[in-house]
């Protein structure tokens, strides 16, 4: 699995209320949620994010509520992968369950700036900053997580396995 895109970089403790405010939870349609993604933190995000782009953030990304709408909104906005120094516990599990790739790579976060072009090879765990030429290492996805992400989430993965 390889992801390539422009980086949108944010700070620490990015909470699920700014990722998708509760006032928009009156829908669970991914595309409708995506229209309001990051709205309270960066009103310009939806206008500038392109398919395949990469979110980079400091510690504790996704803290706060358990709303699975948060990874759904980020994914539907076009983000291909999130690289952070660390993730909040519930978000971590929700991201994988909804098929949104996430990686913990503190060195990469420090070495990547907003607007950089980055390539992520999730199979080897290599993160390359094409803007600076620097490369970083992260844990590659274990096979079962790779399978969940490739099939689009836990539900799809279970359905495919049941179908055999």
């Amino acid at each position: 699995m390889e992801f390539r895109g422009t980086v949108h970089k944010y700070g620490r403790d990015i909470d699920t209320d700014v990722i998708i405010p509760a006032r928009y939870l009156n829908t669970s349609v991914p595309e409708e949620l995506a229209e309001h993604c990051m709205e309270d933190l960066d009103a310009g995000f939806v206008g500038k994010v392109a398919a395949g782009d990469i979110l980079v953030a400091d510690e504790n990304f996704g803290c706060g509520s358990s709303r699975e709408h948060a990874p759904i909104a980020i994914k539907a906005a076009g983000v291909s992968v999130i690289i952070a120094k660390s993730f909040a516990r519930i978000f971590y599990r929700n991201a994988i369950n909804t098929g949104l790739p996430i990686m913990e790579a503190p060195d990469a976060v420090d070495g990547i700036s907003d607007g950089d072009k980055v390539v992520v090879d999730a199979d080897s765990g290599t993160i390359t900053n094409e803007t600076t030429g620097a490369t970083y290492r992260a844990q590659p996805f274990p096979p079962f997580i790779k399978d969940i992400i490739e099939t689009g989430g836990l539900i799809e993965s279970v359905k495919q396995r049941v179908r055999g």
């Binding site: 209320d17 700014v18 006032r23 939870l25 504790n60 709303r67 516990r89 519930i90 369950n97 539900i155």
Partner: protein
């Protein structure tokens, strides 16, 4: 073979529910005693079940959906989600708590759905509230919630525990809310990520069950998976008459191993306030005193219980809410509303100028019931002050105890509540 050490509360509960000798770091598949979702998260769980082709829940007596976040519905889209939840209840037999019943985190223990020693998951991050009742309860997303509703079990990583002990005694005008805000300031918003907090000491023993729930409720604000306490005589008395389930309290072993042990002297802690826009941005009230406020909120799963109403009513009795302040009051459940009516607290608060809203999450989550205007400051008993949390990203939320909120709405600015208490010196 090296003898294994004693167990924490978390390790005890996971051992009992997984049929293994569970220790921190182990991954176990455990039976859950209850699964819950609210109106923000249940619709995704219900859709996930449909997607999996699952038409029944593992045990209708062990599943509930609660309409509390946007209740009564403020908008057509939510009305449709509420309908979906009601139909799910009819179809599967799962318990439905409809508009007016209250906040999920009050209802699940209040109605006896969980008892000490239980393991439960809820599709809401503040599910950790029942840790105060010796229940290992934790928040999960809707997909995990759906899996638990279908199978009655889920995989967990048994967390390490941080032991937090409070010595001394709370000074007049200082409450359990101040202790947990103080701890959030000490440990930070990710200070306990992936871990369980375990609370001990004479100060915890002295707290009411309600006061303890305030502490466990906010464990997630430190990133914790749970905020656990022992069940004592008070806990067991609280469960009397609440249902047919038999409590099975799990005490930690004397030689339990903790990742860290922290001790705080509660006598040295005064009222605390979390400032915008982070729960760990905490300072003693002296540093923010005088900050003007346009709105006060009493309620939520953190501080919407009878004791919180008693505290606020004791301060507001015979006084008036400042004319430039809206004071919104939301009991955590219908039963609490009834009890507060009977005790005269509602009369006192409404006479003082409070606007009473339906038992539920009220304005905390920003869906309705008191969205602040641009540039306004709010003082709230809630658990989160994230940017935009109350529905307007151009407003500023401060968090404090019910006493701090009551004192502040009288003066129209953040006010130290200790002046209303004999011996509440600074």
């Amino acid at each position: 073979m090296i003898p294994l050490s004693g167990k924490t509360i978390a390790e005890k509960i996971f051992s009992a529910h997984s049929g293994t000798d569970a220790h921190a770091g182990d991954i176990v598949v455990a039976d859950v005693d209850f699964v819950m979702g609210q109106d923000g998260t249940s619709p995704l769980a219900i859709r996930a079940l449909e997607n999996m082709g699952v038409t029944e829940v593992f045990d209708p007596k062990k599943v509930a959906v609660v309409m509390d976040h946007s209740s009564p519905s403020p908008i057509e889209g939510v009305s449709a989600l509420h309908t979906m939840m009601r139909e799910f209840g009819k179809r599967t037999g799962a318990k439905v708590y409809d508009v007016g019943e209250g906040v999920c985190h009050q209802l699940i223990p209040e109605k006896g759905h969980v008892v000490p020693g239980d393991l439960m998951v809820g599709c809401d991050s503040h599910t950790c509230t029942y840790g105060a009742l010796n229940v290992f309860s934790t928040g999960v997303g809707s997909t995990d919630g759906a899996a638990a509703m279908a199978a009655g079990k889920l995989w967990f990583k048994v967390p390490e525990s941080i032991k937090v002990t409070y010595t001394g005694a709370l000074k007049p005008g200082v409450y359990s809310k101040d202790l947990i805000l103080h701890l959030a300031g000490e440990l930070g918003a990710d200070g306990a990520t992936y871990e369980a907090l375990e609370f001990h000491g004479p100060v915890i023993d002295d707290l009411s069950v309600e006061g303890r729930m305030t502490i466990s409720n906010m464990a997630i604000e430190l990133g914790a998976k749970a905020g656990l306490m022992k069940a004592d005589a008070k806990t067991l008395a609280w469960f009397q008459g609440r249902g047919e389930k038999t409590p099975n309290p799990q005490d930690p072993d004397a030689d339990a191993v903790y990742e860290r042990e922290l001790t705080f002297d509660a006598s040295a802690i005064g009222p605390q306030v979390a400032k915008p826009h982070a729960v760990d941005n905490v300072s003693p009230i002296e540093e923010v005193e005088g900050t003007p406020i346009a709105e006060g909120v009493l309620g939520t799963c953190t501080n919407g219980r009878l004791e919180d109403f008693a505290i606020a009513a004791s301060i507001l009795k015979g006084r008036r809410v400042h004319p430039d302040v809206r004071f919104i009051v939301a009991p955590a459940s219908r039963q609490i509303l009834l009890d507060a009516i009977e005790a005269g607290y509602i009369q006192t608060l409404v006479e003082a100028g409070a606007a009473l809203v339906t038992p539920g999450c009220g304005p905390c989550v920003g869906t309705h019931n008191g969205v602040p205007s641009n540039g306004e400051n709010v003082i709230s008993t809630a658990n989160r002050n994230f940017k935009g949390r109350m529905g307007n990203s151009n407003s500023f939320i401060y968090l404090g105890s019910p006493a701090t909120v009551a004192a502040s709405v009288i003066e129209g600015k953040i006010t130290d509540p200790r002046k209303y208490f004999e011996g509440g010196e600074r």
